[in-house]
Symmetry: C2
DNA sequence: GCAAAAGTGTTCCGACTACACCCATGC
DNA sequence: GCATGGGTGTAGTCGGAACACTTTTGC
């Protein structure tokens, strides 16, 4: 520990050289519109400075007594009504100068962002508009320039989404209780691109793994042979939890 | 969300209900003693309250103008002199009540920890003792009870270490410039346990991947046939960067 | 009947496993 | 020679890729 740092029994004596932080939470919220084959990101229009009038990821500052995760769920719940979702911490961006409010002439408060990553069911997600188009789903490729370092956060979130989809059952957090293998396949295609597997191989591999229960029910959607409805069996998945790359 | 939520146009009018944070960095620092087949963790004895006299992960508070990563490198450099290492951000622990200094009667300052994970070369790592046995390598299985939530952070770090080793070339950040395949194998065995692969298969797989250059040199260590020395070829590894599970 | 979607089967090939075996060195 | 560690080879097996084919529906 260098010479100018000395801690005291209780508070550091010279707190003067320590940074003071406000801690924010910014969420990369994805949903998958399987019908139109689009991967969507939720962005909000900033109403206040800095970056008023620019799009950004939905975020908030952490309150007294509030968990980081709780703050993340709060932001999400402010923007979209949704029943089923997956959420986890992504990465913490904390360098100085990432927020213009950190002007040197101010109190030298730093703004740190603990970003989170979420996946919600598109059909189930009702945006909470404040009567001005200040919140929107954007297809990933068409997301506009974002405020702060949010573009970087977004690309980090997209990487995580792809990885998670490959080795975790997060897809089932966002599919209905029962679903067809076509639904599941569409979701994977939409996120990972259509180069990742042929439908029949995808199907065979997943069924062999044994955590998809055939409910016996069928569903018919327009033309084509009716599809079997499956249910995700969490207990049967348990032993595969630690195995990498189950799905791909 | 809940009824007590109200945002205001510019700054949150009532900054009073926002938490103020000190941000710390705690490092899970691993090294591998391949000779004695031990995976080691660096712990330090706390000199000050809270938890004075308890072991903890090495950490520090982030200073004004300092990057999180810079703070992480600083802690490390204060504890151990080392040339080659790998370091990355791990996870952020930020719930209230994780630090006893957050007493309600105080200013309601929260202590948040952005944990980092590091791997250093054991033979090359010189501990910076302050003339009291206040810093030590512990074999993972024998690490004593740690202060704060550091035991949780450690187990998180160990998971990351195993994963990284399986799909990233971090082993080469911690091996000498040239090394034998036996060295490499020992490192993997020590971290992952000896159930993961047979030596000859490990060898064949790695050589087929094509990013290990045979230097043509040999080394002889006591009995046994002299081993070829290899060098990691970062350029040749490049195309494999995005492929999962290269090493196992 | 025809298109569309679901579901089955088959062939080929590469990769991983589990070994057995050969090679070069110290003592 | 023999122990020790390095290095090579091979037979068996499993799983994924590619693709042809069958089934069941709507129209």
């Amino acid at each position: 520990m260098s010479a100018n740092l000395h801690r005291t029994p209780n508070y550091p004596l010279s707190t003067v050289d320590l940074a003071d932080f406000k801690v924010g939470v910014d969420n990369v919220i994805f949903s998958v519109d399987t019908h139109r084959n689009r991967l969507l990101v939720l962005v909000v229009m900033r109403q206040t400075d800095p970056f008023a009038g620019h799009w950004s990821l939905p975020g908030t500052l952490v309150r007294q007594g509030e968990t980081l995760e709780a703050a993340a769920y709060r932001v999400l719940a402010e923007k979209v009504r949704v029943n089923t979702l997956y959420l986890e911490q992504l990465y913490t961006f904390g360098g100085p100068d990432r927020d213009p409010r950190e002007s040197p002439q101010a109190f030298d408060v730093r703004y740190l962002s603990v970003s989170h990553f979420a996946l919600v069911r598109f059909e189930d997600a009702e945006l909470i508009g404040d009567s001005s188009g200040s919140i929107a789903w954007y297809p990933l490729a068409e997301v506009p320039q974002l405020a702060f370092d949010h573009t970087e956060i977004l690309s980090y979130g997209y990487h995580r989404l792809r990885n998670k989809l490959e080795y975790s059952p997060i897809a089932f957090d966002v599919l209905p209780e029962v679903f067809t293998l076509g639904d599941l396949y569409q979701l994977y295609i939409t996120v990972l691109g259509d180069g990742f597997s042929d439908y029949s191989n995808f199907r065979a591999r997943l069924l062999k793994l044994g955590f998809l229960q055939d409910t016996g029910q069928k569903t018919s959607r327009g033309a084509g042979r009716p599809a079997s409805l499956y249910r995700f069996d969490a207990a049967a998945f348990e032993p595969l939890k630690e195995k990498p790359m189950v799905f791909i």
